[in-house]
Symmetry: C2
Subunit: 230 residues, 2 copies
């Protein structure tokens, strides 16, 4: 789990991948929220199976999951002996589409409109520059952090492991979590995430992902939170 | 298989469903190409699990599969004892979303843009009238049939079992199937389907589905085929 959105933590995928390799293991990496928002160096970190989502830092419509496999992961799939239960997710059928090798028989009708949308979102990312997009996420996070800390709101995750695109902060003492979120949504058309699991009622999760990671959103969030909290 | 697009045959889903019930069986019905194009009376025919596609006679973007389950099908799913292999397609999790019963925990990010598209396509169908849409598919099929038969092209399926939205016809004797299809595509921007399996090289499959089932398409197809064949 590269970018863990329930806690706002960024894991060290590079170190975990190296550890896995030391033990002869392959890695499968959830990069749903990391791709486009923070560095994700698939080849350099030697990640084996990586999947993401279109609707987070890629700013595209939801419904697609970009995936990539290392040669070792492909070899593993091609050598499996048990039957794949799912036609829909059978990568051996989908890989035949991609590779040009073997019989390219019909597998599915592609969601072409969504694929065009993803193509456009990737062009937008290319125009901005991937490194610039990472920097923009960091910059907007720093802006928001300064604003939140001025309001006495603390981050849940140590600075070194924070996700810039998902800011998990503690609900201040004595504040009614649900009431604040409802007022933000109803009066400011601004939705921030609730805490999940052990953090229910205790955390807010403020997304700044892709297209949404911009100064006006930080400004609105900071001012709206200040107004509501006072 | 209600509307079998590889052969252009319409099955008698009502009779098959009755037969299944006589033997205590549930039915699962592939209605991908039938929904919106020909009568599909899910409740009246007592079909148990029915799935369709958004991109055929509903004229919507591809990527969604409308599904419906009878109470018996839901009961069957709820009483299963083996583990569902696929999170993605685990209907017990999805049903909890729909029913409002049980814990409605997060399952997936919905492809909301595609859902809006489907909503709009269903509104368009409602405005036309479902029965009118069926009639339009029949009318366009009859028009195309007259044109094709005038060219000496014969249908593969008996008249009583033909799909109006997928016209499967025999490639005339001595005609180069692939050359005709390539010319139609390159010179007329018109794609017709090739035969599959045992029908490869011997059949053409001409779709008239949803938005595409209209007079100008029939006219273009008839004239283009006539030109190319001569």
């Amino acid at each position: 789990m590269h970018a863990e959105t329930s806690t706002g933590a960024l894991s060290d995928a590079k170190a975990l991948s190296a550890l896995a390799r030391q033990h002869g293991c392959l890695t499968i990496v959830d990069a749903v929220t990391s791709l486009g928002g923070v560095p994700l160096l698939v080849d350099e970190w030697q990640l084996d199976a990586v999947y993401s989502g279109s609707q987070k830092c890629l700013s595209c419509v939801p419904g697609l999951s970009p995936v990539t496999f290392s040669p070792k992961a492909v070899e593993k799939m091609q050598n499996r002996t048990s039957k794949v239960q799912s036609w829909f997710l059978d990568q051996s059928l989908v890989l035949a589409y991609w590779s040009g090798k073997g019989k390219r028989s019909y597998h599915h009708t592609a969601p072409v409109n969504s694929l065009y949308a993803l193509h456009e979102s990737l062009l937008m990312l290319k125009e901005e520059g991937l490194e610039n997009a990472w920097q923009r996420h960091r910059d907007m996070h720093e802006l928001l952090k300064a604003e939140l800390e001025a309001l006495g709101i603390a981050f849940l995750v140590d600075a070194d492991h924070r996700l810039p695109q998902l800011n998990a902060v503690a609900v201040p003492e004595g504040i009614d979590d649900a009431a604040v979120r409802a007022t933000l949504l109803n009066d400011y058309n601004l939705e921030i995430g609730a805490g999940l699991g052990a953090l229910a009622g205790k955390a807010w999760r403020i997304g700044l992902m892709g297209y949404a990671a911009k100064r006006e959103n930080v400004a609105l969030c900071a001012k709206a939170l200040k107004d509501v909290l006072s």
